[in-house]
Symmetry: C2
DNA sequence: GATTGAAGGACGGACAAGCAAACCTTTTAG
DNA sequence: CTAAAAGGTTTGCTTGTCCGTCCTTCAATC
């Protein structure tokens, strides 16, 4: 029996710098609305402690984010760093981004399936109620894709939080960021969003009944929608 | 509606150095048997090019791995760097490792479910046959846990390869490395391994029939075994 | 047996990232 | 008015990484 060596072992090592990772994390959180427009970030001295980086490194990141218009700072007592309102227009997805769309969808599938199953096992009553609320908000915004997308993200991230796995929450936000870049420029007629909502409800119902596999199935159906749309628009990844 | 801010946004930034990441990658590949004992690594000058790092950095990593006894080098023409045979005894899992066991299992669940579903969609005939072979090898080694574990890893990584997603393969090897550290010191009687084998067969059958959800279910059942064992032995994560 | 080429091994200079600890400037709450 | 709390600035140091060069070893080949 021959042993096929996965070439992934010798694939390039991607060592992100602390600066890059910070820009990525905060930038994504802002674009996803996890840090709402107008809200205040923790003070620099506190934030760098929380992130485990030096203040100068954090400031580099904040400078980058302020130059791209995602954030602004005011000085003096009572000042601070705030998320811009309104946010700057998002720029079109890069060619590299588009070339990797399938990998991105695959990662998303993995995270979301895992989250669906674990949430079904672990979600508490309060969390379920909150998720239902979010689904309600979602249904009320089928006419405004920006608002819809934001509520959608909250729902998915909320589901991840219900698993009580910080790692999954982190991955989920990362993946949602990548997906947002991909789908920002795709038309989403209200009918599509409505069917998406129906899938959300089925998903939440399955989670509430602690039926992990039905939740997984609902999630898979849900994700397939986006994937088919992308497959129609983009070349194979 | 209040917005719960995921504290994951401000969680510490972990910026691994290229050196650390290389040790981790090669070390894991060796421990998992992806780089078989006795096999030769690519020449340093080639390997550093493939990994996208400087030769001095690679040498740091190789020095570390040779000091830990995972690798040795011979000089001169026809020489090279080779995986040790036999491998050094693995050291017991660190307390931090054990404290994170649940997060590790959660990550594994996500990856493996995703892999199961995608493999069911995409696995080709040849790949399926190879996976069946691996399952056969697995069944022949229920008496020797070391051999069993190695074959098990090959099967799971092989499944990941069948998805044709390099990202999933990378994550799978990473997660399998973490799992190996966790379960190395847990007794696995042949009966347990036998029932594990039955689950493998069910999984592969579902994949062959392109029944994604049955594959997911089979995988979930399979993973639950380890998780229950760990839950019995370790405090809550 | 001499030569050659391919491999690991070692060193030094240049550069960039990151850290730490100050100190400066602005603004407002009290 | 003043103290406190925030962002803004500067400086020096440490460490990781890269690149290039040269050395050493030793089997294959002529």
């Amino acid at each position: 029996m021959t042993v096929t060596l996965p070439e992934a072992v010798f694939a390039p090592v991607r060592s992100q710098t602390a600066f890059e990772e910070t820009v990525e994390r905060l930038g994504t959180a802002i674009k996803l609305g996890l840090l709402p427009a107008g809200s205040q970030l923790p003070a620099e001295r506190e934030l760098c402690a929380r992130l485990g980086i030096a203040r100068s490194t954090l400031r580099q990141a904040l400078t980058a984010l302020s130059q791209s218009g995602h954030v602004f700072a005011t000085r003096g007592r009572g000042g601070g760093t705030f998320v811009s309102d309104p946010l700057p227009p998002s720029d079109p997805p890069s060619p590299e981004m588009l070339a990797q769309w399938r990998e991105t969808c695959d990662r998303r599938l993995a995270v979301e399936l895992g989250v669906a199953v674990l949430a079904a096992e672990r979600a508490g009553r309060a969390e379920l109620d909150r998720l239902d609320e979010l689904a309600g908000a979602l249904e009320r915004s089928v006419e405004d894709f920006g608002a819809y997308r934001q509520a959608d993200i909250r729902l998915h991230v909320g589901l991840a939080e219900a698993t009580r796995s910080t790692e999954l929450v982190r991955t989920m936000t990362e993946v949602q960021g990548a997906m947002t870049d991909l789908i920002a420029f795709i038309a989403h007629p209200p009918q599509v969003l409505a069917s998406s909502n129906a899938q959300h409800r089925r998903l939440l119902a399955a989670v509430r009944e602690r039926d992990a596999m039905r939740a997984a199935q609902a999630m898979a159906d849900h994700l397939q929608g986006t994937e088919h749309i992308l497959a129609g628009l983009l070349p194979d990844g």
